[in-house]
């Protein structure tokens, strides 16, 4: 087995612990501890197995749910016949291949990247894959978690392994004094805006530094979730007491002595003193402000009190063209103040920002205020568990009485595969992860923000600082 000697990074440790085969000049055969499955990227994989007469090798290490297509007003009424078929096909496949499925009747159902951690399926040191790029979310627990295509889904189903070339490693060290108003979402958007949406390509990012250490698990998940928006193969954070406290007592986490034993082992999951990364980036959050994207990729963002850039400020001809084209698609003017951008839709949800803390944060802004007339605002909890917890805390009432719609869990307006779509030419403040052209609907204009900023935008009808709104310096 080809393994590194001397001090190792966390990624290298997890990698080497999962090598089934490793030969010079070939990718490694890597063992997968957990395979998460959803309805959109799996039907062709199961069909491939059937055609070749193959079985699922480890149904016990596989877990499925439905999230992408699920309607969030009434999940049981799927009017789109093709979406209904995809949901039905997942049910049939899970039955045929004996895979556990959190279906629409299950109290565990939700967005796959929300329920994995919630159920305790996601654990430090595991290799985790799913046919979805935001699988990087699970890295928050010190797991090596990455998105794969459907052919690889089929490969993992059949063999529980994947051929993978060893990734390069990168440290993104988040330092400085974090301003109270700056959320995990603002930080990760800031990192991508500063370094570009391709800076992580070919690398696995380890997020380090005091700012990361003092983050909650929910915040770390937001950061790791967006590492794919930097092009990284995965993003992770070394586990610590915060991680263990989150995991303790969850359904698939060992309990009692076994948990104590696990903790001892998990504590060894960290980058050794003296280990080096292929690339290192330092990002200081001290002077950061709340972020809003103005363009058509997650790196096109700025401060809430900033402006839309002028294309001629860009370095290369192709960047000037891309900027001009993004501004045109977004229906903005160069030099325009971000705070003058009016929105018609607000989406609080997605695997990036639909966990309980996200909803609490948004509710703290919304409480006692009213959604601006003409703005349609949606809250889509990330899972049934999140929804129940929020309702137990009365957050649903806070949102509903302010004029928000309170929905059932699913991916929803993040990618508009269900009926939750932003109409052409209209503008949405969204807590999701991608502002690509057409992502939330053909011709829809997406601005990525934190839950607090989305809530503030719903109240003001335009982008304003959530911090300022809390300080009531802005009259909506």
């Amino acid at each position: 087995m080809l393994q590194k000697t001397g001090p190792k990074t966390l990624v290298e440790k997890i990698w080497e612990a999962h090598q089934v085969a490793s030969e010079e000049g070939k990718p490694d055969l890597l063992y997968i501890d957990l395979h998460l499955v959803h309805e959109v990227t799996s039907p062709q994989a199961f069909e491939g197995l059937r055609l070749a007469g193959r079985k699922v090798r480890r149904p016990d290490l596989t877990y499925a749910t439905m999230d992408h297509n699920v309607p969030t007003d009434n999940p049981f009424v799927v009017n789109d016949p093709i979406a209904a078929k995809q949901i039905a096909v997942l049910e049939e496949n899970c039955k045929e291949f004996a895979i556990d499925l959190a279906d629409l009747n299950s109290s565990a159902q939700g967005i796959v990247h929300v329920i994995g951690p919630e159920l305790g399926l996601t654990q430090p040191g595991k290799t985790i894959v799913c046919g979805d790029s935001h699988t990087s979310t699970h890295g928050a627990f010190g797991a090596l978690a990455f998105g794969i295509g459907t052919s690889e889904v089929e490969h993992v189903l059949a063999t529980q392994c994947l051929w993978q070339s060893k990734p390069k490693t990168m440290q993104v060290n988040i330092v400085g004094e974090r301003p109270h108003s700056v959320s995990a979402k603002d930080i990760v958007l800031g990192v991508i805006a500063a370094n570009g949406i391709g800076f992580g390509t070919g690398h696995v990012i380890e997020f380090t530094g005091d700012v990361i250490r003092s983050m909650t698990m929910e915040e770390r998940m937001t950061v790791c979730n967006m590492s794919i928006e930097a092009g990284a193969r995965a993003g992770l954070v070394a586990p610590d007491e915060t991680t263990f406290a989150y995991l303790e007592g969850r359904r698939f986490v060992p309990s009692g002595d076994a948990f104590e034993f696990a903790k001892e082992k998990w504590r060894t999951l960290r980058t050794d003193e003296g280990a080096t990364y292929d690339k290192e980036i330092v990002f200081d959050v001290t002077a950061m402000k709340e972020q809003v994207t103005w363009g058509t990729n997650p790196g096109m963002g700025t401060d809430v009190d900033g402006r839309v850039p002028y294309p001629e400020e860009m370095e290369s001809e192709s960047a000037r063209r891309a900027t001009a084209s993004a501004i045109a698609y977004m229906g903005l003017e160069p030099g325009m103040r971000i705070q003058d951008i009016e929105i018609q839709h607000v989406f609080i949800g997605s695997c990036t920002n639909a966990r309980i803390e996200d909803l609490r944060m948004a509710a703290s802004i919304v409480r006692g205020r009213t959604v601006k007339p003409g703005v349609r605002a949606l809250v889509v909890p990330g899972s049934k568990q999140v929804k129940l917890q929020a309702e137990a805390e009365g957050l649903d009432e806070v949102f509903k009485s302010a004029g928000f719609e309170w929905r059932e869990p699913g991916c929803s307006m993040c990618l508009g595969m269900n009926p939750d779509i932003v109409p052409e030419g209209e503008r949405c403040a969204s807590t999701s992860n991608r502002n690509f052209e057409g992502r939330q609907g053909r011709g829809a204009r997406t601005h990525l923000v934190s839950p607090a900023m989305a809530a503030a935008a719903a109240i003001a009808g335009r982008f304003v600082s959530a911090k300022a709104m809390l300080e009531e310096s802005i009259v909506s």
Binding site: K13, E47, I148, T150, T159, G231, R434, G438, G443
Partner: protein, 217 residues
Amino acid sequence: MEPLRRHRGKVAVLDRLNVDTDQIIPKQFLKRVERSGFGQFLFYDWRFHADGTPNPQFEWGNGSADGASILLTGENFGCGSSREHAAWALSDFGFRVILAPSFADIFFNNCFKNGVLPIALPKETVDRLFAQVKAAGDGGQDSGYALTVDLEQQTIYNDNGLEVSFDVDPFRRKCLLEGLDDIGLTMQWEDRIAEFEKKYAPRERYELFSNCYLNFE
């Protein structure tokens, strides 16, 4: 998978940066449960207006990509969603080779699984090719700029003396040259996988991955 050894084809140009998989295959077409038939939806929201009529403003609106099988494009092609539908759409449309300065990782993997060869070339080389295609004129179905991509020799050349070599992972090259089904290939490692599972792998979903401890202590 259809093997790819040497391929000669017309080049279609998409001179844009960061083309994401949401553009390559918009989400409304991800609900099919088949692998086939995605070519008609390739770059759908760019190629067609909302009412389904062709958009002549799009780079390919004049037919410049008709009959093309090699795509020449900008940095970070295929970023975003992991949807393999993007590779299926490109392949079904007729593309066998994609040339760009860089690719997003998941998309890059997905291409190889579908008999499509993505080649990362130095940016200057791509810029030179952009210039050559533009100089040759776009043309319609049977005209335009052609290249030959030889995977065995790892070179790209044309009739006018251009010749560039390229790198490709040897394992992926072999799979593509021979059109190998890599699941079948992996299953030949069954003994090793079984041995690994016996020693290290979790026997239940909630069990720890025991090898972690062995290596870290």
